[in-house]
Amino acid sequence: MSSTRMTPERESSSPLPVPSPLPQPPVASAADATPASVGAALSPIRDFLSKRGSGSFADNSFAAVMLLCACSIFAIVLFIFVILVVHSRLSLIQFGWKFFTRQAWDPVSGDFGALPFIYGTLATSLLALCMAVPLALGVAIFLTELCPRVLRAPISFLTELLAAIPSVVYGLWAVFVLVPLMRDLIGPFLYKILGWTGFFEGTNFGVGLLTASMILAIMILPIISSLTRDIMNAVPNSQREAVLALGATRWEMIRIGVLRNSRIGIVGAIMLGLGRALGETMAVTMVIGNHPDISKSLFAPGYTLASVIANEFSEATGDLYLSALIEIGLALFLVTIVVNAIARLMVWAVTRNAPARVN
C-alpha cells in the first residue's frame, strides 16, 4: 500500500483527493481511519490520523446512550403500569372484576366500587364530545377552506392559545363565571325548553355533570380542531380541484373531496380529544360537584375517575381505600392508553406520507 493512498473506508467517506503537503488540519476531529501500516514514509496527514485512533468507540457509545434514552420511554410506561398494579393488589384481590360494576363507595366500612365514577367519566366525556365535535369541525373547515388568508394565522393562533391555558385556570373561570351562569341563566332555560325529556330534573346548583361537560368541551376543542386541520391540509389539492371541476359548490367540494378523504383521521382526532377528556382532572373536579351517585339528570352532581383520585387520595385512610383509588388510576391509565393508541393509529394512517399542502 502506498503511503499517499488512503485506506478504502476512508476513501468511501471522503472522495476528495488529499493534497499531501498540507499542514496538520486545525480541526481535530477526523478519527475514523485505521492505519494499516505505520511506516517511516508517512505523509503528515497520515501521521496525524494514525495518532488519533479510531472513533468507533465514541460513535458506538453515543448511539448506545441515545438508544437508552429512547428505551426509557418504554420503561416509563412499563413502570407506571407495574407500580399501579403492585399498589392496587389489595383491592384487586378483594373485589376482582366486580370492582367496576359495584355502586358502593363507603370508605368507613371498606366497601368500594367504581361504577359511579365510570358513569360520571363517560357521561361528561361523551357530552363534551357532542358539544365540541361539531364546533371543532366547523372551525377546522373554516380555517382550511373558507377563511381569508389574512384571518387564518390570528384565528389559528387564538385557538392554540386556548390549548395553552392551564386546566386549573379553566376551573377557576368555571367556578366563578360558568357556575353562576349555569345556575341562573342556562339551567332554567334548558329546563323550560327540554325539561320534558327528564335529563334536566332536580335542583340546579350550577355544579354538576352538564357544567363539567361544558368546561371539558371548551378544553378539548382546540385539540380536535387543530388535529382535524392538519388532517384536512393533508388532502391533496388535486382532489379539491377534481370535485370543483365537476361543478360542485364549495360545500359539496368539502363534503366529497375533503371530509370523505379524511374521515378516518377525523375520527382519530375525535378519539384523541376523548382521551384527553377522560383524563382531565382539575377543571372537572372543581365544577362537577363530587358526589358518587348515578343520576339521569344532567344537573345532578357527579364524580369522575380522575376527580375522585384528586379529591380523596391525600386523605385516604387505610390501605384498602388507598389501593381502591390506585385501582381506579390503573383503570384510567389502561382506558386512556387504549383510546390513544387507536386514535394515533387512525391519525397516522391518514397523515403518513402525505405531503403538506402548499397554501
Partner: protein, 303 residues
Amino acid sequence: MSTQPLSNQPRPMDFESGSMRRNTARRSATNYFVSGLCILATVLVILPLVAILFYLIYKGASSLNLAFFTHIPAPVGEVGGGMANSIVGSGIVLFLASLMGIPIGIAAGVYLAEFGRGKTLATAVRFTADVLNGVPSIVMGISIYSLIVVQQKHFSALAGGVALAIMMVPTITRTTEEMLATVPHAIREAALGLGVPKWRTAISVSLRTASPGIITGCMLAFARVAGETAPLLFTAFGNQFWSFKLSEPIAALPLQIYVYAISPYDEWHRLAWAGSLVLIVLIMVSVTLVRIFANRGVLKGGS
C-alpha cells in the same frame, strides 16, 4: 332489460328548466348555510377564549400588587399576603423537571431521527411516546407518589420534579425528531465527508441546525407542565411557607391557585385570580416567543 337500445344516450341538459334551477338554488343555499355554520362555530369558539382572557385580566389585574410577588400567604382572615413562595417553588420544581426531562427527551429524539430510521424499534418508541403523551397527568401523580413519596415517607419537591419531567419527555422527543427530520441530508453528508465522526455530526451539525425548532418544542413542553396541577397534588403537595429543600413539600403556583379557588374566602379568591393571571402571562409569553422564533432560522428544504 339487457337489450336496451344504444340510442338511450343522455339528452342534452336543459340548464334553464325549472327543476334544474331549483336544484342549483338548493345547492347554493346549502353552501351558504354550511359556510355560515362554520363561521358561527368559529365565533363560538373564539368567544369563550376572549371571555376567559378578559375576565382573567379584569379580575387579576385589579388584585395584583407588589405584595403578591414579595410575601408568603397570609393566615385566613388577614388581608394581604402573596404567593412569592409559590412562584419560587414553581420555578424550582420546573427547573428540576427540565433538568431531567429535556436531556432525555432530546436524546430519544436524536435516536429516532439519526439512528433509528426505518427500524421497528424506532416506530415502537414513537408510538409509545405518542401514547404516553395522552396518559392523564393524575395517573403520573399517583405512580410517582407510589414510587418516591411512599419510599421517602414524605412529600418532596424532587417527586414533583420527576412527575413533571416524565410529562415533558414525550413532547420533546416528538418535536426533536420532527425538527431533525427537516435538516437536509446534504449538511450531514458534508460534515461526514470532512471526516467528522457521527456523534459529533449529530451534536454540532444536526442538532445545531435544528436548534430553533427544538427550543420551540422544549418551551412548549415547559409551558404545558408549568400549568399542571394534578401531578403535583400528591408529590410536591404545597407549602404555606418558604421552602428551598428538595426533600421537603414545596409550594407551586397551580397548586396554590387550586387550593385558593376552592376555598370559601374572598381574599383567597382574589389571590387565586392574581395567581392565574401571572401563570397565564408566563405561559402566553413563552408560547408567543415560540411562535415568533419557530419560523425563523430553521433551514428549509427538508430531507
